[in-house]
Symmetry: C2
Subunit: 348 residues, 2 copies
């Protein structure tokens, strides 16, 4: 049981002494100590595969800032990698796959990776981190959404037009559904295993849900996240689940209908509007624009205050950015942000 359980209480919409805070990508390249560990580890995936070093970088932001959660250091693409697609991180280009999946035959050849076998290194990292944390703050486990994983798997590399994956979706809807089903089952057992290994919160990152049309979003992204939420609510009913669709501000009500406990909110939606849309059924996590962390100190302070005021009275707010922290962020500014959250939220 976590000693600091603020985030767990906020996710249950129970009263808290102050708003809990953590940052998406809080362990990462903006920290010099991360860059040092990464240089020792080798490649990004080498770092993910080394449970001691993955634990070290997970703990680094907690040593610097008074954060209320740790998040497993890993990547959303571990599942397609375990499926045999050959994940590569090309400098300046982002992730790409040696063997993209773009035919029904390739889809039908995919299996559900065993979380304790092909993905055993992730579970080792969760266990090592969990034991090192020793209940100091809760550990967040995570995975990519089926749709988001499918985007990377079909396109093979970064895209702005999503031509291939939308072609597959339109030309081969049944095969696309089989791909998403395989991914949903893979994510479900993967998150279940992370929870067994010590994760106390499960978060699903739907980075690319926002590029879908409103109907396609329900059919190709939300439906499969729903399947995962339902699985986890059976396998581990007490573990809160957070869904985050970047650019999903128009679909918050439907997302809350999945039975999840919290929603990530990017910075294009005010938390006030998000509370109205979700009728206070779920906790809300967000929503400072990560670019604000490049601003002068007084602007960071004012923006933190605004986010907290827009959420308003009552429980259920977890302070966070609206997207991952940017690489060129000055670590000192992050400290200012965390301090400001403490300053302005000492009353909810």
């Amino acid at each position: 049981m976590a000693k600091n359980d603020l985030i767990l209480r906020a996710l249950r919409r129970e009263p808290v002494e102050r708003t809990p805070v953590w940052l998406m990508r809080q362990a990462g390249r903006y920290l010099p100590e991360y860059r040092q560990t990464r240089a020792v580890a080798g490649s990004f995936m080498d770092l993910c595969r080394n449970d001691e070093l993955a634990c070290e970088v997970t703990m680094q932001p907690l040593a610097r800032y008074e954060l209320d959660a740790a998040i497993l250091f890993s990547d959303i693409l571990t599942i397609p990698d375990a499926m045999g697609l050959g994940l590569q991180f090309v400098e300046g280009e982002g992730p790409c796959f040696d063997r993209p999946v773009d035919t029904p035959a390739a889809i039908d050849a995919l299996g559900v990776p065993d979380p304790e076998d092909e993905l055993g290194y992730v579970m080792n990292a969760v266990r090592t981190i969990s034991s090192t944390l020793d209940g100091r703050v809760p550990l967040i486990g995570f995975a990519g959404s089926p749709w988001t994983l499918a985007v990377y798997m079909v396109e093979g590399r970064a895209t702005r037009e999503f031509r291939k994956v939308k072609l597959l979706m339109n030309a081969e809807p049944e095969a696309t559904a089989r791909l998403l089903d395989t991914l949903a089952r893979s994510v479900a057992v993967y998150l279940e295993a992370q929870i067994r290994a010590g994760a106390e919160i499960a978060m699903i990152f739907d980075t690319w849900g926002g590029v879908l049309g409103h109907r396609d979003y329900e059919k190709f992204s939300l439906k499969w996240m729903q399947q995962i939420v339902s699985h986890l609510k059976k396998s581990s009913p007490d573990v809160p689940v957070i869904l985050f669709t970047k650019g999903g501000g128009q679909w918050l009500s439907e997302m809350a209908d999945t039975g999840c406990d919290g929603l990530g909110i990017d910075w294009t939606t005010s938390l006030r509007d998000a509370r109205v849309a979700t009728k206070d059924r779920v906790a809300l996590q967000g929503n400072l624009d990560p670019a604000v962390l490049h601003a002068p100190a007084d602007r960071i302070d004012a923006e933190v205050k605004r986010v907290i005021e827009e959420f308003g009275e009552g429980p259920g707010h977890i302070f966070n950015l609206g997207h991952g922290i940017q690489t060129l962020t000055d670590p000192e500014r992050v400290g200012l942000m965390v301090d400001a959250v403490r300053k302005y939220s000492a009353r909810t």
Copy 2:
């Protein structure tokens, strides 16, 4: 006066025999005849600067498809180019500027380009196209929104994080406001001149408004588009103005408040919801996902039908894509789309 004035009537929300249709980037690289003309012209900007060739490519999609509007062949970055920033189109990278504007001093050195002098080549193109069209269909003139132009001018090249422009916005809000004011005045006289030269509709492309937080959107994007709409409503009250913020589905009501005549709607918002949000005060233009044009014929047909049905009964719909047509689109599929619009809309 245009012989085919369907789009003008739709923008006034008057009854039409069928839904008018055009496509964002309808003249462009997906057409082999465009690629041929472009090869003759030299660079992209050489083509924009040659009024005969700009007219030729403007007319090309009208020769292939029964479209209800022509749009000036040009680029949103003509204004910053005329301000002396040195526009370059780097293959595979998109537009970039030799001299980005990222200090208050550089901002204060900017002037409003004379539309008939530095931008005279655009007005020549408008006059040549207008005379060639000879009223066949209305000609749409356009410009980028002040915020969108500012993004390119400050960043200097394509960005995914918008770090520099958001740093300027947060660290130097007064200088940013001066930049946006200079740009708003530049766009206003530029569109006014296009109208004088023969454009019958003015459209403002706010490609990057959707990356702003909800408050910042009003302050840094919408406010300046409002200023342009107010200017045009005085200088040419009968010319309809269309605003399009990509990713702006949450702000349609505020956009309609500007007094514009039409709103572009990307594919993440249903036209039904957009009508509710705007209380039928404006015409709506959109909103097929451009990626649907890669799909099999029956899917294109079904998606066109869905878009038209989602708009529903009553006037005020202009069929279009939710964003520009993609380069790898098969021109034959575009014909299927145009035919489907005629088939399903013969009743409004």
